[in-house]
Each structure stands twice: as C-alpha cells, then as structure tokens.
C-alpha cells in the first residue's frame, strides 16, 4: 500500500501548491488591482490613519496641515488649510472622499511617506507607524498675497507666475478667482460648477495667445541661430502684406528702417513678422522647444492639471485644440498671434520660463515647487538642487535680449513702470482677441534686477476692451517683483 500513499502525498502537495499560487496572486500579483477596486475601502481607511506631511511656505508658514480626530484606536487625520484660498491653486486639496488635486496629488507619495516594501519592513522592525514627510515649498506667502490682491483688483480672471531664474524655484503661482480648499468636503459640487471656474489653475492649466511677449522667443531664435543680429535693419512701415493679408503695427504706427532693439522696444509687428520669415518655421519651432513649448512644464503638479504651450489649430465649434508643427503663418506666429492654420497659445508658467531663460544667461532651469523635504525624524531628506532643463541660447544672445528688454521698460511700451531700487527688463503683450471691439489679452513678462536677476515673472488677465499689457499686467508684475526683491 506504500505506492498509493506516496501518490497521495503528491496529490496533497499539488493541492497545497495551488493554495500558494492563489495566495501569491491575491497578495502580490493582483494586489494593485484589488487595492484599486471601489469595493475595497481599506486604502481609504488606511490613508485616514496616516499623518500626512505638512506643506509650508518658504518662510515656514503652514499651507496645509493634518489634524488628528477621534479616539485612540479609531483616530483619523483630517486636512486643513490655515491660509484659506491663498494657495488653493496650486496646492490643491486632499480629502478621503473627495480625493486629491494639485501639488497635494503630485507629491502624494512624499506627503504620505510611501516607501518600498523593504524600507517599510525596516520601519516595522523599528515599530514605527507610517508617517509622511513635510514639504517646504518655494512659495512666498506675501508675494502670493500681493499678486492675488492685484489680480482681483482688475476684476477679471488672471494669473501670475514668478520664478527664480537661477534655481527654477516657483516663488508665486497665483490664479484668480481661487477657492478655499477647506470648503471642498462640503462644497465640491458648487466649486465645480463655479463660473468662471475656480478650480482651474490658470497659471499652468490655461493657454492664452501670448501676443507680443512672444517676440522675445522670435528674437532669441533669430539672434541665436544667426539669422539676424541686433543690428539687422528691416522696414517698420505699416501695414505690410504677409501671406496675402495686411498686417499693421499697434495703432497703425509707422516706423522707418529700424534695428531689432528699436523694434522690440516699440513692439513693431511688421519688423518681427519679417524676422519670423527670416528665421523660418523649423528654427522657430526648435527654439520654442528649447524654451519648453510642446510639453507640460516640469513643475510638480499632476499632468491633468498642466497644459503644454505651442502652436494650435483651434476649432472653436468643436472646442478642439490640436497642436501643429507645420503649415502655420510664420509671420503672424512670430508676433505671438497666428491664424486658422495655427496660432500660438502659451501658459503663464511658460512665458515666465521664457523670461527666466533670458534672465539666466540662456539656461532654462527646471521649475520646481519644492525647496526641501523634511522627514518625520526632522532630517532634511531632499533639497532643491537646481537642474538645467535646457540650454536655450548662448550667453551673448541672452545678454543682447536682456539689453533690448531693458530699453522696453526704459523708453518703450512699458515706460513709466519701475521696480524701486532695482533695474528691470520686460516685454509687454497685447494680444488681439477682437480687433473691431478693441478687445485684447494684456500680458507682461519681466525680470529684475538686470545685472543679477533674482526674479522672472509673467502676468496675464482675461481680455478686456482697450487694455494694454503695459497698463494692466505691467503694474502687477512690478509690484510683485519689488515685493519679492524686498523680502
């Protein structure tokens, strides 16, 4: 009877192997799928019991905090936002039922102390409860407050982004109208329906025609590729015909034969349209790419809350937006506008990156919101380590551009603006939205001080009648810059 007994053991071992197989499936191979099931409330319960790290401003003011509620075993943590709506965008919110958004979502792993299996084993041995790390952001509360106040004073939706040119640190990212994340648990539906939208982060999620601020990109491409020099003289007469359609300067102003400095200072459309044709679409696209166009800005925000700037065919009827890389009217794209075959659209963050690249001698630094990460033991586990995103242009090109942008604010379209105690350089933009009703999108990009730039900025607001970039966006930019420089 010993043969059947041995076979019985084999059968039992096969059955037990089946048990090992199924256990592996549920606990390891299929685990991610099971954790994602809506029927599975465990991840929610567990998230409630993790002390989420705090989010702080650069100066240590608390933007987001987790408060413990409930009794010993059944406690849970609830998020609160002491600064209210000030950082609703870009920080977002994190609640068990409503989910996460913004920076809270993008940095969820750090904030919840997510670790790999082996590290968590070590923590178990040390008997530690999982806890998130604090994140000190690069954000500046007083400058953010000022930017928000100034935007709100215009009465129109708008956005401000200020960067440190040499580190990429985001000092201000303001979007109005904003929202108070503390209201999310009760009022998310209402916030979702608000018009104009309050949950949209206009600084990085919305794309606008950049108008004449884009001339900085065209000029950079022309100078750096060698298609032109600062002394290249072209006709500034208005109007001139491009692609069979007349193009005029702002207010129909006439200029004679002028060089690039003169053209940028006075934002001469016809000069830059010709310059665009000299550069050509391929080179322009190349330089746009170097500035960051064509892909989402690399800052720590969720992909679905970022938009890539570029040249788009806009189909307003279908609400469609399609990026194109050929067939567009190079002359009109070169002045930050375009036509049916493609028009430029840029986020405020993208235009701030343009200003920052010029300010930083042609090197674009990767924008970041994280100054440092402090682990639950109080150690700094990660720190801002400036990273070059791309070499946009040579130092000479950047210096020449900075020089031209300085004369924009000294004697050109932005004359009359000033940053107390500092030199600054800038470029206005007034993108035509409706020529007959004189409705335009006001823009301003700038950096200061010119000698050793500490801040680069971009500002825009929704279009308005008779608005000029230098008058609407310019004063907001200089106010925010001087706040940052004095801080």
């Amino acid at each position: 009877m010993n043969v059947p007994i041995r076979r019985l053991l084999a059968v039992v071992l096969v059955l037990f192997a089946l048990l090992v197989g199924f256990t592996s499936n549920w606990s390891v191979f299929d685990a991610a799928e099971l954790e994602a099931k809506v029927e599975n409330k465990r991840p929610l319960f567990e998230a409630q019991q993790i002390k989420r790290g705090r989010i702080l401003t650069r100066d240590g003011e608390v933007i987001a905090n987790s408060k413990r509620t409930g009794d010993d075993e059944n406690f849970q943590y609830v998020r609160s936002y002491p600064l209210g709506s000030l950082f609703g965008n870009p920080i977002g919110y994190s609640f068990i039922t409503q989910g996460t958004s913004g920076f809270e979502r993008a940095e969820n792993a750090t904030l919840t102390g997510e670790e790999n299996e082996f590290v968590s084993i070590l923590d178990q041995i040390r008997g530690r409860r999982r806890q998130g790390s604090d994140i000190v952001t690069t954000l500046d509360a007083s400058a953010q407050q000022l930017a928000t106040d100034q935007l709100e004073a215009t009465g129109r939706p708008g956005a401000v982004v200020a960067l440190e040119p040499d580190t990429g640190a985001v000092r201000v990212m303001a979007s109005t109208p904003g929202f108070d994340p503390n209201r999310v648990p009760e009022d998310l539906d209402q916030l979702n329906r608000a018009d104009p939208s309050v949950l949209t982060n206009r600084a990085i999620q919305s794309l606008y025609p950049p108008g004449s601020t884009f001339k900085v990109v065209t000029a950079a491409a022309a100078l750096d590729s060698g298609a032109a020099t600062p002394d290249t003289v072209l006709s500034g007469a208005s109007p001139q015909t491009f692609s069979g359609v007349e193009l005029a300067n702002a207010g129909g102003e006439q200029f004679g034969d002028i060089d690039m400095r003169m053209a940028l200072t006075n934002s001469v459309n016809t000069y830059f349209a010709q310059l665009g044709e000299m550069v050509g679409p391929e080179t322009l696209l190349d330089y746009m790419g170097r500035f960051g166009f064509g892909k989402d800005p690399e800052v720590q925000l969720p992909d679905e809350q970022k938009a890539a700037s570029g040249i788009f065919v806009v189909d307003d009827k279908r609400g469609g937006f399609k990026q194109v890389d050929e067939g567009f009217d190079i002359a009109r794209v070169a002045i930050g506008q375009g036509g049916e075959e493609g028009e430029v659209r840029a986020s405020v963050t993208q235009m701030a990156e343009v200003a920052a690249a010029v300010a930083n001698g042609g090197e674009l630094m990767k924008p970041t919101l994280v100054e440092k990460v402090i682990d639950p033991d109080g150690r700094v586990s990660d720190e801002l380590d400036p990273e070059v995103q791309s070499e946009v242009m040579s130092e000479e090109t950047a210096a020449a551009l900075a020089d031209m942008m300085t004369s924009v604010v000294a004697e050109g379209t932005a004359a009359g603006l000033s940053v107390p105690g500092a030199t600054f350089a800038g470029k206005t933009g007034t993108a035509e939205i409706d020529i007959e009703q004189d409705i335009a999108q006001p823009w301003f990009i700038a950096f200061a001080p010119v000698e050793d730039p500490e801040v680069a900025i971009a500002v825009t607001t929704d279009p308005c009648a008779g608005c000029f970039g230098g008058e609407v966006a310019g004063p907001i930019a200089t106010a925010v810059m001087s706040e940052i420089l004095s801080g």
Binding site: M1, L19, E73
Partner: protein
Amino acid sequence: MSARNRELLGLIPVAGLLIAGFAAVFVVRRDEVADASLVFGAYFFAICLAAHVFLRIRLPNADPYLFPLVALLAAIGLVMLYRIDESLARDQANWFVVGLGLFVLTIVFLRDYHVLERYRYLIVVAGLFLLLLPRVPGIGAPVNGAYLGVEIGPLAFQPAELGKLAIVIFLASYLREHREVLVVGARRVAGITFPPIKHLGPMLVVWGAAMLMLVFISDLGSSLMFFGAFLALIYTATNRISFVIIGLAMFLVGAWFFASTVDHVGDRIDIWLDPYQDASGTGYQVLQSMFAQADGGLFGTGIGESLLYAPGARETLGNTLIPEVQTDFIYALIVNELGLFGGCGVITIYALIAARGFKIASLARDGFSKLLAAGLTAVFALQAFVIIGGVIRVIPLTGVTLPLISYGGSSVIANMVLVALLLLISDRARRPDPEAAS
C-alpha cells in the same frame, strides 16, 4: 540522537515563535493588552513541554517531528488570536489543556488502537449522529446557511470535527477487511475497472452520506473533505485509480445536481465564480479576505499592524473588517499581517505534517494501521485545503476551521486526538522488532 531528543529540539522554534510573536503583539498593542497576558504564551509552552514529557515516557519511538510541527501551528494560531483579542488567546490556551487531556487519555486507553476495529459500526453510527446533530431543531443553527455548529446552553461545538475521526476510523477498518475482494472481484467494462457490484454497496453508502451532508449540512467544503478522505482511503486500500475517478465523477454529478437544487449550495458557487456580483452582501466575506491579502503583499503589514476594524467602528469581534477573523478567515489575517511569506510558511507546515503522516502510514506494519494513518492524514490535509481554499477562492467558501490555528474548542480537541492516534501508530511501527532483538 534519540527520537525524543529530536522532538525536544524541535520545540525550540516553537518557543522562539511564541516569544517573538507575543512580544511583537505586546509592543504594538501595549495600550490595549494587559501585561499579564504575556504569560499566555508561556502557559501554552508549558503544555507543550508536558506533552513532550508524556510522549517520552509512553511513546518513546513515535515520530519525533509530528508533535513539534503541530505545536508550531498551534503557536502561530495563538499569536494571531492574541493579536485579535487577548482573551481569545487565553481561552485557546485553556482549550489546549483540555485537548492535551484527551491526547493523554487517547494514548493511555488506546495503546492497542486495534480495539477500534471491534467497535467500528458503533463508531460510524456515532460519527453520522454527530454530523447530523446540527440539524436537530433547538440545538443546531445555521451559520451563513451551513449547519456545522451546535449550541447547548453556553456550550457551542462543531460535531463534524469529532465526526471526521469516527468516519475515518470506520473506513480504515472496513476497507482493511474488504480490500481484497474489492480488487479481486473487479470487472473491466469499457476499459474502466468497476468494483464488484456486491461490494459497491458500501461505497454507494458513503457517497450517499456525502450527498446527504451536502443537502443537510449545506456545506460543499466539508462534504468534499469527507468524500476526499474516503477516496484517499479506497485508493490506498485498492491501488485502483479507476475507483477514484468513478467516485470523483459520482461526487461531481451529485454536487452539480444539488448545487442547482439547493439554494445555499448554488449561491456559494455563484459567489465563488463572481464575488463582485453582490459585493456588499453574499460576496462580502470572500472579497474582504482578498482585499486583506492584497494589503499584506510580500511581507505583510507586520503583526498587530493591519487594520482589524474600520476607523470609527465598534471594536467587537462581530465588527472586524475580515469577517469571522478568529475562525474561518484566520488565514486571511495571517497573509495580511505576515504577507505571502507568512501564508506560505503556514501551508508549508501543513505540507510537512502531511508528509510525516503519510510517512507514518508507509512505515506501519499492518493494513489497519496504514489505512488509519493515511486516512487521518488525508482528512487533516484536506481540511486545511478546503478552508484555506475557500478563503482564497480556490473553491467555494466553506465553514470548517483551519486545523490547530483557528479559535475553537472542538477543533483543538479533535485534532489533538487525531495527532495522538498518529503518534500511537508511529510508535508501534518504529518500535524495535522484539523478535529480531531476542
């Protein structure tokens, strides 16, 4: 080294596991467990040592590995119960005292276990009576639709646990006597060997009993366990694989028939196939088990670190996230807290016990001993398979306990008697041959 010294060495890992496990739970849940509760582990280990000393005196030649493996399982169970609720660990340790009492009584009074053969019909009647006891109105009540438990006043027990011993003893004895005729009288029809009609009767009776269990007890898992043990025994006795195939086919046909006619059995199968169809109702239990395992991962959350209750829920046993966590679903908690490695460890211990059990069967010198050891081992292994398999959705969920790990007196007592019988058989088989010595 003598067998008993090896057994004593084998108890060292048990002590280590108890110390580490109780210390871990104590550290993690210091707020909730009393300092004195730490002694439950020591208490249990003292029982193990007492059993070892007893074996040293009474069964010096018995298999040295079986008892330490059994103690290891019990220790794992005790640690997990301690983690769930300290009073469960205390009760379980007390049950082991009772279990050890029966273990000792079995070894003392059944020194010659062949007497069991003489009372086989009495034993099988008692076994069937025990199995059907839960259907007696007033004392039996369905749990999740299955009739497995009996409550008489404050005393609750699962008669099937003892019933399985009775059935296996009967089958071993019956087949020892009839194996020859079953083989000799067999006919080949269409390439399949059928047992002789005359002797088919008892087989049909056992099959009928399994089907009756399916209908009366409404539990697919336990009838599978009984019928599987029966097939294992008939195969051991006759070495005819065709008998097993015929039996299996009969069982499947019967199971299919009752699954489509008995609501509870059919429901269990539907849930098994798709637990999401009623995720908050009938599919809830097995889904919670799967989610708990997913939470465990490779290494588990650590003892005492998993989420036993939903935040805000009242912390009573009926309220745990994994339902029936101290009995049927204890394996899900083990995987949750000790991970895939912990789960595999438990399965490995069962496999090693099965290996020792079958080893005892193959060393045994007479037919009854061989069949009894093989049957007891098979029923023990199948019980582990059936309940773990139900908890991890290999087969439909069922209501038996996880042997030696789950909380519960009848399970502990029955399995201690089962182990005592295996050790008795082993001691007799390994005893130095008196004739050769003289």
